[in-house]
Amino acid sequence: MSPLLLLGLVLCLGLVAWLSARARALAFAAGPTMASRPHSVPGYHGWYVALWAIVPALIFFSIWQLIEPTLVTNAVLHGPISAQLPADAMERASVLEEARALSAHEIEGAFNPLSNTLAPAFEAAGHRYALFGTALTLLLCFAGGAFAFVRLRPNLRARTKVERLVMFILLIASLMAILTTVGIVFSLLFDAIRFFRLISPFDFLFGLEWSPQVAIRADQVGSSGAFGAVPVFWGTIFIGAIIAMIVAVPLGLMSAIYLTQYAHPQARAWLKPSLEILAGVPTVVYGYFAALTVAPAVRSLGLTLHVPASSESALAAGLVMGIMIIPFVSSMADDSLAAVPQAMRDGSLAVGATTSETIRKVLVPAALPGIIGGVMLAISRAIGETMIVVMAAGLAANLTANPFASVTTVTAQIVGLLTGEQEFDNVKTLAAFALGLVLFVITFLLNVIALNVVRKYREAYE
């Protein structure tokens, strides 16, 4: 029986359990006195039995799905035919995998003749275990349902029991967030530590030369490849925190000021959605635009200025990234300006200041902590942005302040290092995780500090 069919059957049985338990509970309802009235409405009795029927069966079913392949392989290995298997672990695994695929009809023919002889054994063991699993799942389903059904009584606290499970599920769902964070930290740390065993953290964080490709070509892992990440960090800061912010902060702030203080409501009804569209354009589109249109223009500008200019320049990537961040800065500034008490604005206007004087001398200084927090969040976004830099900034790690030259960033390097050949113990692959760890830590710190700044400042005016 296919797993999907079994799943459907279990759910159907759950429905049957729900209906029959509800029918049983409906019979209770006709009690004459208050004391004999059932504790819960019939629907909860239905759910109580249905959950008992479904939940244990499903838990067993999912565990079984995970361990079944291992059990089948073990059964084949203990069979008489396993004596012919090659001793080499790698070869053995490939033959087993091929035989398994053959028995599941995933492939038509086998590369290794031995797989053909193993396939029937696999098929037999697979059938045996599938039958066993199905039987056990259905048994659990019936047993659970029966266990709950015989407990149906007017004074059964069915609602309380069902609600306890609901609360448990809610708790599990919210714990997923912590689990994800822990998963990120561990998956990054695990490989980063393996990387730091090969390359000292000091060399990584303070080395001035980055050329991971050299090590691979010479096939001398870790001894000659240069993993000094300073040029990569510099490129990230140069594009994300300097060029992009030079574009985004003034434009975003002025946009927010114009939208909230000056714009006619009708104009605002058009301008605000267009900023939102700008925020909703996927980064790969920005990246394509940067590479196709902006980068050639920047290059010819650089050449007219007689500056060494590359076709993949920091300026092109930074400019487009800055424009991408404008809506974000604008909405953060908007929030901060809106949080300034109206009384301060009115006071300034009342003593005769013009609107612009009020904005420059009262509103912006008062909103400054919030704006700075917003800019920090924007920086954290810009340095984590991937597609624009992958498509427009390139992979050449230069330690230069020339905006027309090509620089690289942490995210572009991660993509460059991880796409292509994938071997998990390759130092090149591990370096990507070390870079990822640095990126995670820095964005995490920026976010935490920025969110605290914003919150503290908001509290100050409340």
């Binding site: 912590i178 394509y288 990126l439």
Partner: protein, 419 residues
């Protein structure tokens, strides 16, 4: 004693009017500066859209060539009897239709003929034969899609021979233009004139389905717990901090997580919509939680009090009353989060969704590509013909994203209640 006599300000004096004028001028300058700032954003947006539209509109069109194939005198050997039954597809696939069409093109246009028609041109001939086997007994004319170099020659680009051939054919009436349906129904290919986006689009749909199925229930349930039930303690604070932080973690980090956990530890299939969807679900969940909490917060406490007052349990209060009222807000947030996930590229590159996939995926375990990754892959191609295909794919993606955002705005306006 010495009372300082201060003359009242002479507002009409020369100095004062000049000062006021200067302040007003600075006021106007500031306002103009603000207008300029927002204009730059809007102009950039329009320029971006215009660039994509003008580049991409050609991607939806194809140049067609009139090719006549003389079936009785060709090398094509097909038994017409075999085309009747179920094995028609197989018969056509094993016959050398491609070679026949290529030979016909060579006979008609000279030695560069085979290069003038698209790689996928023979598929149309093959379909035509399947629809009407009697074609095999006569000489038939087909309008076949032109290759990318010939298409470019139509715009005066490309090799001189091609441009020459284009002009000659154009005069003879052997060239026409038409809507490229294959672009909407086909999958990736090596020849820009033969590519389609359906494969990537279907991959995107499957990925989004997995994302929605995981992120929506989890996000809503987590939001309900945190907003309605969670006790104020250290655990709750930790959950809240990690959700707020996850919403701001760079997307590529989620890609690294997916690579390490889903592929490395759990050994799920590479490049599959299942893994892509799970990775994006982890990314989308915090967005849904935050939107959900705001929507739940907006439901007034009086609703809860009233429900509790008539004897509902705490679970009933939320699931019977608060959640239905908050649902439009939650849905709006979910659609916005899904739109963001649909446009996401970097995490999917990490889990291997960058392979060349020539067939649309048939399930969530098949290798697939998604629209943004397809755009990225095409943008890397050197062939000139891919530029307009990339832009055309971008148009499709943007139209889809705007439709989703429009739906979110519509839902918000229609169902959201101000209390």
């Amino acid at each position: 004693m010495n009372k300082v006599e201060r003359a009242p300000t002479e507002w009409t004096s020369e100095a004062m009017t000049r000062r006021v004028r200067r302040r007003y001028a600075s006021e106007r300058r500031f306002k103009a500066l603000g207008f300029a700032a927002i204009s730059i954003s809007v102009i950039f947006l329009l320029f971006l859209l215009w660039t994509m539209a003008s580049n991409g509109i050609g991607g939806f069109m194809e140049t067609r060539l009139k090719v006549s194939v003389d079936f009785p005198h060709s090398n094509l050997l097909i038994d017409p009897a075999l085309l009747k039954g179920a094995q028609a597809q197989q018969t056509l696939a094993s016959a050398d239709v491609e070679g026949t069409v290529s030979a016909a093109a060579q006979a008609q246009f000279g030695p560069q003929g085979p290069d003038m028609i698209s790689e996928a041109a023979w598929l149309r001939v093959s379909d035509a034969i399947a629809a009407d086997p009697s074609l095999l007994n006569r000489k038939a004319d087909f309008w076949l899609p032109a290759s990318s170099p010939f298409d470019l020659a139509g715009r005066g680009e490309g090799s001189p021979e091609m441009v020459h051939a284009y002009r000659a054919l154009k005069q003879a009436g052997g060239v026409s233009k038409g809507f490229n349906w294959h672009f909407l129904t086909g999958a990736d290919a090596t020849d820009p004139s033969a590519v389609g986006i359906w494969g990537a689009f279907k991959g995107s749909l499957l990925t989004m389905l997995v994302t929605l199925a995981m992120a929506f229930p989890m996000g809503v349930l987590a939001a309900v717990y945190l907003e309605e039930y969670a006790p104020r303690n250290r655990w709750t604070t930790m959950i809240e901090v990690s959700i707020n932080n996850l919403a701001a973690v760079p997307s590529i980090i989620f890609g690294l997580l997916g690579l390490e956990i889903f592929l490395g530890v759990m050994h799920l299939p590479r490049s599959a919509p299942l893994v892509g969807g799970m990775t994006l679900a982890l990314m989308t969940m915090p967005v849904i939680v935050i939107a959900g909490r705001n929507a739940l917060k907006a439901v007034p406490p009086s609703v809860r009090d009233a429900a509790l007052g008539v004897g509902a349990s705490r679970v009933q209060v939320v699931f019977h009353h608060v959640l239905p009222l908050a649902l439009p807000g939650i849905l709006t947030g979910t659609i916005i989060g899904m739109a963001r996930a649909l446009g996401e590229t970097a995490p999917l590159l990490m889990i291997g969704m960058r392979a060349f996939i020539a067939n649309p995926p048939s399930g969530i375990n098949d290798p697939a590509s998604v629209l943004p990754v397809q755009i990225f892959l095409w943008s890397d191609e050197v062939s000139r013909g891919f530029i307009e295909k990339t832009s055309a794919a971008i148009i499709v993606l943007l139209v889809f994203l705007m439709a989703m955002n429009g739906l979110a705005i519509y839902l918000r306006n229609k169902f959201e209640r101000r209390w």
